[in-house]
């Protein structure tokens, strides 16, 4: 089963390919402000992350996701429930 540290590492790697060279990615990185993504780009980012972890991420989680940590926690939860 996927543990949080592994999710965080894989997610950070995925984000680095999506927003290359822009910023150092850590738990507290803000998806909108630090990565300079708009809401549509975040939704498209989710499509990639879904494939990476073989889960489906409901759009409705987005209001609760601000940082990389928020997203990693959601992924860990969804992967656990899948």
């Amino acid at each position: 089963m996927l543990e949080y540290p592994q999710v965080l590492a894989e997610l950070s790697a995925e984000l680095a390919t999506f927003a290359p060279g822009r910023v150092e990615i850590g738990e507290d990185t803000d998806l909108l402000d630090d990565l300079n993504l708009d809401s549509l780009q975040v939704m498209n980012l989710l499509l990639h992350i879904e494939d990476r972890f073989d889960i489906s991420i409901p759009v409705s989680i987005l209001p609760d996701v601000k940082t990389v940590k928020d997203l990693a926690l959601q992924i860990e939860k969804l992967a656990r429930e899948a």
Binding site: D38, L40, M43, N44, L47, D54, S56, I57, P58, S60
Partner: protein, 404 residues
């Protein structure tokens, strides 16, 4: 955080437009002359951005029907159908829509936006999963949000991506609602409907097709992409609008499932709004009868959009999709697109400007919509304006395709 702080981004965007002296989102058509002509900035202008696909807004029979209803039934209904009663015309239109599609029943909504909002909010709830094509219209997203449904997106026009997400759902797939559009409003591309129907046949679930831009446009009898692809029976719900090919305002959902009638009683956008006015209903009924009989209008429309598409292609423009009544020219950055749009208007051609994030893949689009009522001379004039701009402004269309 102040009440108006959230508008800072919008205010900056408005200031940018004001500095450029271009206002694509506040165009006033000072006088409407015909389905394809109006006066804008005091100048006679060809309208090629009004979704008036069959040109029925000035059809004499539709106008006469609206006049009769106005004289006989008054200006408005002054209330909602559930609280204040339906007029006979509301029910007749629902019956006529159901008969048009060969389905059990239909619900009429007051706007096209509300047709999606009301159908999705009435049909689904917090425990339901809705699988949306990523490029679905805002009204579809908003309907799901109002419902509190679990929304999962799949990659635009990608049936394999849909199948992957259906597989992940396991047993829940059988009750999932899949939502797609016949023709997508930004690029004018069509859904791979047969492939999507195959996914539904394999995994179960229900299929809702929004035919807002394809009603009256595609199919032998104008019933949209579902008819053209021969999969009408696989569509559980079809949503459409009266405000494009039918030249009125309002929308509908049609279905062969008996439960549709219950959607009516759970749909807040249906319950808590005033019903369409008698004149609107009367012109829509007349337009529907013309649309279903009118193969000549569809043939003329097709000839027109193929003519414009071929003309723009020959000039070297990058277009969003194969020919359809929605023809999107893909441009580079937003300032280039803004200036291009403004230059077209100065040459007497009104089209739509679409900028990110409303567009797919962050592209800027000049979106034309073609009408059966456009004359060959008008389409040649539109082409001439595009050709002139290509020559005089050195505009280079984006080399990258729009992902279609």
């Amino acid at each position: 955080m102040g009440l108006f702080d959230k508008f800072q981004g919008l205010a900056a965007a408005r200031r940018e437009l004001a500095a450029l002296g271009i206002d694509p989102f506040g165009v006033e058509i000072e006088r409407i002359i015909s389905p394809t002509e109006g006066i804008i900035h005091g100048r006679r202008t060809i309208l090629a951005g009004t979704n008036n696909y069959l040109g029925l807004t000035f059809n004499p029979e539709c106008i006469a029907a609206a006049h009769r209803a106005l004289d006989a039934e008054g200006t408005g209904t002054t209330g909602s159908r559930m609280a204040n009663g339906s007029y006979s015309g509301h029910r007749r239109l629902e019956e006529e829509l159901a008969a048009f599609y060969g389905m059990r029943d239909a619900i009429v909504f007051s706007t096209g936006y509300q047709a999606n909002l009301g159908t999705l909010a009435g049909l689904t709830g917090p425990n339901d999963v809705v699988l949306l094509d990523a490029d679905c219209h805002a009204s579809i997203y908003d309907g799901c949000r109002l419902a509190g449904a679990e929304v999962i997106r799949f990659r635009h026009n990608n049936a394999d991506d849909l199948a992957k997400r259906m597989r992940r759902l396991g047993a829940r797939a059988a009750d999932t609602l899949i939502v797609i559009e016949g023709i997508y409003s930004m690029l004018g591309d069509r859904a791979p409907l047969k492939d999507i129907v195959d996914v539904k046949r394999e995994h179960g679930g229900y299929l809702l097709v929004d035919e807002a831009h394809s009603l009256g446009v595609l199919g032998e009898r104008g019933r949209g992409l579902v008819e053209e692809m021969g999969v009408l029976a696989d569509a559980d719900f079809i949503v459409g609008t009266f405000s494009k090919s039918l030249g009125g305002a309002g929308g509908f959902c049609v279905s062969d499932l008996p439960a549709l009638d219950l959607v009516r009683y759970s749909s807040r956008p249906y319950i808590f709004t005033a019903s369409p006015s008698p004149a609107t209903i009367a012109s829509t009924r007349q337009a529907l009868s013309i649309l279903s009989a009118g193969r000549d209008l569809r043939a003329r429309l097709r000839g027109n959009y193929e003519r414009l598409h071929a003309g723009l292609t020959a000039m070297g423009y990058t277009l969003g999709a194969s020919p359809s009544p929605v023809i999107a020219v893909v441009l580079g950055d937003r300032v280039e697109a803004l200036q291009f749009w403004s230059q077209l208007l100065q040459r007497g051609v009104y089209v739509n400007l679409m900028l990110p994030p409303a567009t797919p893949n962050g592209v800027s689009l000049i979106r034309c919509s073609v009408s059966a009522a456009h004359t060959p001379e008008q389409l040649d004039a539109v082409c001439a304006a595009f050709a002139d701009l290509r020559a005089s402004c050195g505009v280079v269309a984006a080399e990258n395709s729009a992902g279609t």
